[in-house]
Subunit: 210 residues, 2 copies
DNA sequence: GAGCAAATAGGCCTCCCGACCTATGGTCTT
DNA sequence: AAGACCATAGGTCGGGAGGCCTATTTGCTC
C-alpha cells in the first residue's frame, strides 16, 4: 500500500483526486493540503511514500516547497500549465517527476507506483515506457496468493452471486468444487464466510471496477 | 440517483471528479468529455440530469456550449479562475450555477442535488443556504425504508461482523432479534442473504465512509 | 519422470442461516 | 382509546454452509 499526500489549492481537485486515488487498490491518500505552508507543517506527522503537489499555490508555492531545503519523499509535480520551462524548473528544484493535469488518472497512479519503486521519471524520453511498466496495481499479498480461478469466483461473489448452486452454474463446475475454492479463498483472505470474503474482495479491489 | 456528465479538458480532474462523485451515494457520473465538441456530440445519447462544465476548454469552450442554442440540462459551471466577471458572463449565458474549483467536494455534491431539485443557484446571496439544505445525500428508496436499528445492524454487517452471535453481542440484543432484523433488511433491500446485504450496503453508501 | 500445485469432484457431518409465525412492551399519530 | 410501527424475544424446521478428508487429471518445473 503506497501512502500519498496531495497539495493543491483547488480543493475540488484535491478532494476528487483523493477519492480517485483511494479507489486504486494499492494507493491510499493519507492527507490533502491546500497550500505549501500547510504541507510543510503537517508532513512530519505522517509516513508519506510519495508526494503530489501543484506548482501554483498561495502562501508557499510548489517551487518553494521543493526549494525549502527539507528532505521530502519522492515528489511528483502535477500542473495545469504544462510548459517545458516549468517542467525543467520543477525538475531542477528536485521534483522526481512531472505530469500535466491533462493526463489520465491511470498515468498518475502508474507514476506514483514508479516513484515508490525508486524509478526515475525525470527523463521524458523514457517516461512512457516506465509508466507502462507500472500500469498494473500491486495487490495486497493476500490477493496475490489467490489463483486465477479463485479470483473469478471471488469476483462473481462480490457482484452478488452468493449461493453455491448459482456460482456452480456460472463457472460451469460442480457445487463441490465451488465449496473447495471457497474454503481455499477463506484461508488465503483470512475470513470466515462468503459475506466477509465479498467485503474483502471489494475493499481490496478484486471486484471489477465499472 | 442523479445522472451527471462532466466536461473538462484536464483529464486528471475529470477522472478524479468522476470517481469522487461516484463515491457519493446518490450521484452517478454517466460520462466525461474533454471538450465542448465531444460534449455536444455525445450528450443526446444520454439521459443527463445535471451538467458540470469547465469554462476554459479547447475546441468549444464552456461559454460556447452554453450559447450553442441547444436545450441543456441544468448546468453548473466549475472554474479555476473564479472572477465576478466570469461568474456574471456564465450566468447570463444560461448557466444554472457557478462554483470555483476551490470549493470542497461536498459543496459540489450539494449544488448538483439542488439543481436536480429545480433550485436556483444564480443568486450568490442565498447560495450558502441552498447548499446547506442539500448537504445530505438522498438515499435510494430501499435504504430509506430501513429503520435506524436496521441501519446500525447493516453497517456492522458491511464492516465484516457477519455471524449472528457477534452481531447480537455488539448490538446488545438476542440472536433472535438479530435474525428478525436481518429478515426485515433482506426484504427491504430485496436480497437473499447477508452477503448480498453487505454488498448492497456498500454499494448504496450505507456503510460508514472513512 | 519425479514432484508439485491447481482444478476438478465426491462424501460426511455439524451447525447455523433463513423462512414462517407468534407475542409483548414502547412510542407515536390520529 | 385505537391503530400503526418498531424493537424486542421466542419456537420450529429444512436446507445449505463450512470443516475435514480423499482422489483424479492436467500442466508446470526441476
Amino acid at each position: 500500500m503506497i501512502s500519498v499526500a496531495i497539495a493543491d489549492d483547488h480543493q475540488l481537485f484535491a478532494d476528487s483526486l483523493s477519492m480517485g486515488l483511494n479507489s486504486v487498490p494499492d494507493i491510499r491518500v493519507a492527507a490533502t493540503f491546500k497550500d505549501g505552508a500547510e504541507l510543510l507543517g503537517g508532513l512530519d506527522d505522517l509516513e508519506i511514500d510519495v508526494l503530489v503537489i501543484d506548482l501554483e499555490m498561495p502562501n508557499i508555492s510548489g517551487f518553494e516547497v521543493l526549494n525549502a531545503g527539507r528532505p521530502l519523499p519522492p515528489t511528483l509535480v502535477v500542473t495545469m500549465h504544462s510548459t517545458e520551462m516549468q517542467r525543467r524548473r520543477a525538475l531542477e528544484s528536485g521534483a522526481a517527476g512531472f505530469l500535466p493535469k491533462s493526463a489520465p488518472l491511470n498515468d498518475l497512479a502508474a507514476a506514483i507506483r514508479a516513484l515508490n519503486a525508486g524509478e526515475d521519471l525525470t527523463e521524458s524520453t523514457t517516461l512512457r515506457d516506465v509508466l507502462r511498466q507500472h500500469q498494473e496495481p500491486v495487490y495486497d499479498s493476500r490477493v496475490q496468493a489467490l489463483t486465477a480461478r479463485e479470483r473469478e469466483l471471488l469476483q462473481l461473489l462480490a457482484e452478488g452471486v452468493t449461493s453455491t448452486p448459482d456460482l456452480a452454474d456460472q463457472l460451469f463446475i460442480s457445487e463441490k468444487t465451488v465449496k473447495n475454492h471457497l474454503a481455499s479463498i477463506f484461508e488465503k483472505l483470512e475470513v470466515a464466510d462468503r459475506a466477509q470474503a465479498a467485503i474483502e474482495a471489494i475493499r481490496l479491489g478484486v471486484a471489477s471496477r465499472r
